[in-house]
């Protein structure tokens, strides 16, 4: 019996040679029902074309490195099973809305800058000495931010966001969700420092609630919800008397 195969059409771009990206097709054996797109790329890299470039690390949906456009959908390539696409070919492209460095590798500099701008760490006015023990939290306090702390910085939400695609000054879904994660952490006292960043014109108010960021999020973070709730909170802080007190 003939070996089952699947066709992978991958974006190729060599910045030293190519004026623009183009597609290259690879037909590879589809030998195992548990194979994912990342396995297919690894097969190509190992057995067919060692020059194909892409990012990956953990292979289990944790590191957030292997986000790509798979048949036009923002997905982690380690979570996209070949069986869901076979026998049709699979189109693998770099994440939308980001500059392409090479093949499937995007430039994440802008994202890293935006991430840093919301200060994604616990800010304290007075540090608690390590010797004083744990800073305890109740389950209810943890539930306030747990969902937003699941973000793995895979950038799928940015690639699915047409607002970011049209205006990349927009702070973006993941950064705002992460700001909310820290603002709602009972140990944190940095809300006032983050507020000017998330409440400015390129912050939450740039979002028009397309909602696709939450659809593609592989960890159920729901950044669209984080942004809309931040809109309400920032408005209340402005409108309600004493709303800006810590």
């Amino acid at each position: 019996m003939a070996e089952k195969t699947i066709t992978i059409q991958a974006t190729r771009f060599d910045p030293d040679k190519d004026a623009r990206p183009h597609l290259q097709s690879y037909e590879i054996p589809f030998i195992d029902e548990s194979m994912v797109v990342l396995d297919a790329l690894n097969y190509i890299k190992t057995h067919v074309d060692g020059s194909l470039s892409y990012r990956w690390s953990c292979r289990m949906g944790i590191c957030g490195s292997c986000g790509m456009m798979i048949n036009g959908q923002s997905k982690l390539s380690c979570s996209a099973f070949l069986r869901d696409y076979w026998p049709k070919p699979i189109l693998v492209e770099p994440l939308n809305n980001f500059p392409i460095i090479r093949d499937l590798v995007i430039d994440m500099e802008d994202f890293m800058h935006k991430l840093k701008s919301i200060k994604p760490w616990i800010i304290r006015k007075t540090e608690i000495p390590l010797g004083s023990g744990e800073h305890r939290q109740t389950n209810a306090q943890i539930d306030d931010f747990r969902q937003f702390s699941e973000c793995i910085n895979c950038m799928l939400c940015y690639s699915a966001c047409p607002v970011y695609g049209l205006n990349n000054e927009f702070r973006g879904p993941a950064a705002i969700a992460l700001a909310r994660r820290y603002n709602h952490d009972s140990r944190d006292e940095g809300t006032k420092e983050r507020l000017p960043v998330i409440a400015d014109a390129e912050g939450v108010w740039e979002c028009s609630f397309v909602g696709e960021c939450s659809v593609v999020c592989p960890k159920g973070v729901d950044p669209a919800k984080a942004i809309q709730q931040s809109k309400l909170d920032t408005s209340l802080r402005f409108v309600v008397p004493f709303g800006n007190r810590e």
Binding site: P15, P21, G72, P99, I100, Q228, L232
Partner: protein, 132 residues
Amino acid sequence: MAEESGNTRVYRKTMPPSWWTRKAHYFWYVVREFSALPLAIWLLLLLGEIRSAANGPAGYHPLGGTGFVIFSVIALFFSLYHSYTFLSLSGAIIHFKVIDRQFPSWPIVWAQMIMWAIVSAFIIWALWWFST
């Protein structure tokens, strides 16, 4: 287009004007945003009617042609869709706790839908009452 970024040459794809046709979700988002336009036009026409009515019965010629009726029906569907999407989103936006537990979003959405239906019914009744 290819461009320099630091020491690296990168290729930056631009969003095509047809981006909203890529996914059904994008399409319905654009319909949602666009739905405010026919509603706004219809309200402007209503304001014009009110203004002409203020000059007395002699100068008042209400809009009632087939074209206006068709446009009104289209505006009605768009306004219903706009209201439905707006109220549905409220469940994601409004958030508060009751006895240390996050209040679920569905009662918030349903409460607003019911209030919307009550207010609409009252307006329909008031219009009928004035007309008779």
